[in-house]
């Protein structure tokens, strides 16, 4: 599994929907229309239950036919984003492709992230000093954009 990610170090958006949109906008391999549909899928998952995995950290995710490989985007917000019941400062967005090995790889990615978050601890992740350090702590290779 490709373990690379994009990172938006200083998110400008302050609400969930525009933050998801801002994060998707840095994904080079998808067009505008696909991003709009991916946003809908991520929002549907959030409406079904906010993906707050730890205080201050959200993990919006889904599987979609609109991507042919894993898409991971990390986002950090100085001001915090309304999610909307809680303010989050760290967002780990991922989208897994729909393919025969998809469910297994999707599960492995969730497992990987759960392990890394537990291993690094919330505070350490919040204190990361750069995109690269944050990506390293979560076990990803940063895609320079």
């Amino acid at each position: 599994m490709d373990r690379s990610c994009y990172c938006l170090w200083d998110l400008q958006s302050t609400d969930r929907s525009s933050t998801l949109s801002e994060m998707l906008s840095c994904v080079a391999q998808t067009g505008e229309h696909s991003r709009e549909l991916l946003l809908r899928a991520l929002e549907a998952r959030e409406l079904a239950g906010a993906t707050i995995v730890a205080p201050g950290t959200a993990m919006p995710h889904c599987r979609s036919i609109l991507v042919d490989d894993f898409v991971v985007v990390l986002g950090r917000s100085r001001e915090g984003v309304s999610w909307p019941e809680e303010r989050v400062r760290l967002i780990i967005l991922f989208i897994s492709p729909v393919k025969p090995s998809g469910p297994q790889e999707h599960m492995e990615l969730i497992k990987h992230l759960a392990g890394k978050i537990g291993e690094s601890g919330q505070e350490k992740l919040f204190k990361a000093s750069s995109s690269k350090q944050l990506a390293d702590m979560l076990g990803f290779q940063l895609i320079e954009s």
Binding site: T30, G31, E32, H33, S34, L37, R40, A41, A44, R45, L47, A48, G49, T51, I52, V53, A54, M59, C62, R63, S64, I65, L66, D68, V98, P103, Q104, H106, M107, I110, K111, L113, A114, I117
Partner: protein, 117 residues
């Protein structure tokens, strides 16, 4: 993109999410993360119902039939091929100007096809 085609893609993604959360291993990992997948499935099903009620009956029926037959009803076209059956599409289909402006099906397998942007 045709509005029904957009909705069929979203419906497909919702069905994948609902199916995934029915898997014991994914469910277990989501719980480990502190999420509530059981509650999420119920909500996703409600969202699915709302979405399906807004899709044209003809396309919704076709979607259901193809799902029963193949498991996946909507697939992208890659390199002029339907990625469901891997058959090369006729020139008239893949070279059409309004490719995503109408709901199209693969002439071979009948899956609903779309072109990613």
């Amino acid at each position: 993109m045709h509005p029904d085609l957009e909705k069929l893609i979203s419906l497909h993604d919702l069905d994948v999410m609902i199916k995934d959360l029915g898997r014991a291993d994914i469910l277990q990992e989501e719980v480990r993360l502190g999420l509530s997948p059981d509650a999420a499935v119920g909500e996703l099903k409600t969202i699915r119902e709302q979405l399906s009620s807004s899709i044209g009956k003809r396309w919704l029926a076709l979607y259901g039939q193809i799902c029963v037959r193949y498991g996946n009803a909507v697939v992208p076209v890659v390199m002029q091929r339907c990625t469901g059956c891997l058959t090369r599409l006729p020139t008239a289909v893949y070279s059409a100007d309004d490719r995503n402006e109408q709901v199209r099906t693969c002439p071979t397998c009948g899956r609903i096809i779309y072109w990613a942007d």
